[in-house]
């Protein structure tokens, strides 16, 4: 095998030889063990699938940590993996735009697929240009993730080479953890007075969290760097009215210059708020604070409850 590869590599040259060396590095020193291969699109679902399937299958997650689920792209090798997988798990509801053609190709090839978005009660975006179209960010509600696991376990149990009883056991155990996080979030949020259960945010992903825990999403323009360079009261009007209307002391926003924003709000509008970031669409790399889905949910809940109490 190796001899043949070298011969080919020499004949074809640069690109292919690089490809072959790479394949050798990641591949054949550890022989395939015959377990089914599950390819998962997003890293949030990748974590959930791993928890449920355990060592019963190989799980390949395409989206890297700290990436964007809408736009990430995959290598030719990953595309081939998708098409030869035993099961493809995706989010659906239009989330994986950059990946959709590959998901479609796998589907056309007859690869079995599990679309998580089809297992949950879907809500639509409430406002903005996307109003009325399905919101794909169901994971901000861990109770909906329970529904995903319920559907997923059936897809997994039916795979050749997977011990159905083991997978069902693991699914039950993980569901308990999901329910525990759901309960913890409920009690965290119980400390927030009903009138202040408002997320003033420029994030577009918290519709399901709001739906589950009875929050209002108050979408707001968060002035960016060009505006904050020389701001006026009118630049902050939208945000100020959102803060005043809700009475919250914390704005949940991604901002490249949160300090400048806090200062501008104090100087131009006389309001004192904190600007806090939340985890939105991706797990983080090790040390990033949201290495797995359950942690991501817990940390967000703590930040929200802490900011609004």
């Amino acid at each position: 095998m190796n001899g043949m590869r070298r011969t080919l590599a020499v004949r074809v040259g640069g690109l292919l030889s690089a490809l072959l060396v790479g394949a050798t590095l990641v591949g054949c020193d550890e022989a395939s063990d015959g377990r089914p291969v599950i390819v998962v699109s997003t890293n949030i679902l990748g974590d959930v699938v791993e928890e449920v399937v355990g060592s019963e299958a190989q799980v390949v997650t395409l989206m890297r940590p700290d990436a964007d689920p809408h736009s990430f792209e995959i290598s030719a090798r990953d595309a081939a993996r998708l098409r030869s997988a035993d099961l493809v798990v995706s989010n659906g509801l239009g989330l994986e735009e950059g990946l959709q053609q590959h998901l479609d190709a796998a589907d056309d090839d007859g690869v079995p697929g599990f679309v998580a978005g089809q297992a949950v009660d879907v809500i639509d975006y409430a406002d903005g240009d996307a109003a009325g179209t399905p919101d794909p960010h169901f994971w901000t509600d861990p109770a909906r993730m329970v529904d995903v696991v319920d559907g997923l376990v059936e897809a997994l149990a039916g795979l050749d080479g997977v011990d159905a009883a083991t997978v069902r056991e693991q699914a039950t155990a993980y569901t308990e953890q999901l329910r525990a996080v759901d309960a913890a979030m409920t009690s965290e949020f119980a400390a927030v007075p009903a009138a202040r259960r408002a997320l003033v945010t420029n994030h577009h992903v918290f519709g399901y969290l709001a739906d589950r825990y009875d929050f209002r999403i108050v979408g707001s323009v968060i002035p960016g760097g060009t505006t904050l360079a020389a701001p006026s009261a009118s630049d902050l009007a939208d945000l100020v009215s959102a803060v005043e209307e809700t009475g919250v002391r914390t704005v949940f926003a991604e901002s490249s210059s949160p300090d400048r924003l806090v200062r501008a709000l104090a100087e131009e509008a006389g309001i004192e708020v904190d600007v806090v970031e939340l985890y939105t669409e991706s797990l983080t790399a090790e040390g990033g604070g949201a290495e797995d889905y359950l942690t991501m949910m817990r940390v967000n809940a703590e930040r929200i409850a802490g900011g609004l109490r």
């Binding site: 990641v26 799980v59 090798r77 996307a130 577009h204």
Partner: protein, 413 residues
């Protein structure tokens, strides 16, 4: 390229071997240590996602020096030195610069991806991409994406129409998907999804129709649309507009299918037709001048024109398409006018910021808008101005430039 076919065949052979040998459990969320072929060309490498837009103004001076003003940091850096330029067009990321011998493409390194429900913002190293060979002035037609689809370049003196692969530009290379030739005229090659529209001249030498092309540049059977004196194109979230003597064509692509609708001018209110369109990047409503004294607003979503009386004589106009329906104009005396797009009332004006530029003819000022700010270049004054149009047309910041910003592109958009 003789080596290509065997290489592909070999890849077909080899990839499955790699697959069969995948290390169990090792691949999950692991850094890719195998060579990912798409990534070898710099598509992802060096591009950082940002939490807010990296708006900039990328300028070309009379000697062809390209500079980028980062509007967040207020810092200016040099990108390239192209030699004398005669025209600059942009898609909000790339600059298409007419130079002797063709069109030089420069990547400003900053762009926005419009996902409709939200946006993503990116920054990479700015760089010169290369020169598209051609002769004479070019008309460039772009889409709302600077990472996918095509970019159309039409050389008006030779009638050559080139569709550039935009994803290849993002990777740092010039790839012509096709190059066609029609009789020379003031024409356009307009990408619409995977398709394109190409103008063709009538007996008097002005364009009188557009023909629809498939992704390979082949004419789609029977797909010619009357469009007399075609002029002006813009792409919004809704679709792609081409201006015609009697209205506009609105083209949309639904994967495999190209659809072309006609939006006629309203009857009973004769006014000069629109010959160029401008608006905030991607927004459905765009503006055009109807002479100096009136403004056309074309709402792509409603498929409807609206004619406004301009409160002051205008030289340029653009639509912000925000909740307050602001329309901004460059007045004939070099001020920025903030206009209520519903009533046509004049809300505020800046002092004359580009009077010398308009008087001397050194270069045409460029007016760029985003949701919060507008920018005006003043080539003769050597200034770039930032205007807060929601606060009495306050000049928020002014950036002096070391040389004349003869051409300016709004980038990071």
């Amino acid at each position: 390229m003789p080596s290509r076919a065997p290489a592909l065949a070999l890849m077909g052979l080899i990839v499955p071997i790699g697959l069969a040998c995948s290390a169990p459990g090792q691949d999950t969320a692991a850094p890719r240590d195998e060579p990912a072929t798409e990534e070898d060309h710099g598509k992802v490498a060096g591009a950082a996602e940002l939490s807010e837009p990296a708006y900039g103004l990328t300028t070309v001076d009379p000697s062809g020096v390209v500079r980028h003003l980062d509007l967040v940091e207020g810092a200016e850096t040099g990108i390239a030195d192209l030699g004398p330029a005669t025209k600059v067009q942009t898609d909000g990321r790339f600059l298409f610069v007419d130079v002797a011998g063709g069109v030089d493409v420069v990547d400003s390194g900053v762009w926005t991806w419009d996902h409709v429900d939200h946006f993503h913002y990116y920054r990479a190293e700015p760089r010169g991409v290369g020169r598209l060979t051609g002769a004479g002035p070019s008309n460039v037609a772009t889409t709302t994406s600077s990472t996918s689809g095509g970019t159309g370049v039409f050389f008006t003196e030779t009638g050559e129409a080139v569709l550039l692969d935009t994803a290849a530009l993002a990777d740092g290379g010039l790839t012509e998907r096709y190059r066609l030739e029609v009789p020379p005229h003031e024409g356009l090659l307009v990408p619409v999804g995977e398709h394109a529209l190409l103008t063709e001249p009538g007996p008097d030498g002005t364009p009188d129709r557009v023909v629809a092309l498939d992704p390979e540049g082949e004419r789609l059977p029977g797909a010619a649309h009357r469009c007399e004196r075609a002029s002006g194109t813009i792409t919004t979230r809704v679709g792609t507009v081409v201006g015609c003597a009697d209205g506009a064509l609105l083209a949309t692509s639904d994967g495999d299918r190209l659809k072309v609708e006609r939006i006629p001018y309203p009857a009973g209110r004769p006014a000069p037709r629109a010959t160029s369109f401008a608006g905030r990047d991607g927004r459905p409503t765009v503006a055009a001048l109807a002479g100096r004294d009136r403004i056309w607003l074309l709402d792509n979503r409603q498929r409807a024109w609206r004619l406004l009386d301009a409160p002051v004589a205008l030289r340029q106009v653009t639509a912000v398409d925000d909740d307050d329906e602001h329309v901004l104009g460059l007045t004939v005396d070099g001020r920025v006018a903030v206009i209520d797009g519903v009533t046509g009332d004049l809300l505020s004006t800046t002092p004359p910021l580009a009077a010398a530029s308009l008087g001397s003819g050194v270069g045409e000022p460029v007016l760029v808008v985003d949701q919060q700010r507008a920018y005006l270049s003043a080539p003769a004054e050597r200034r770039l101005h930032e205007i807060d149009f929601r606060d009495g047309a306050r000049v928020a910041r002014t950036f002096p430039t070391p040389t004349s910003p003869l051409f300016t592109a709004g980038t990071g958009r």
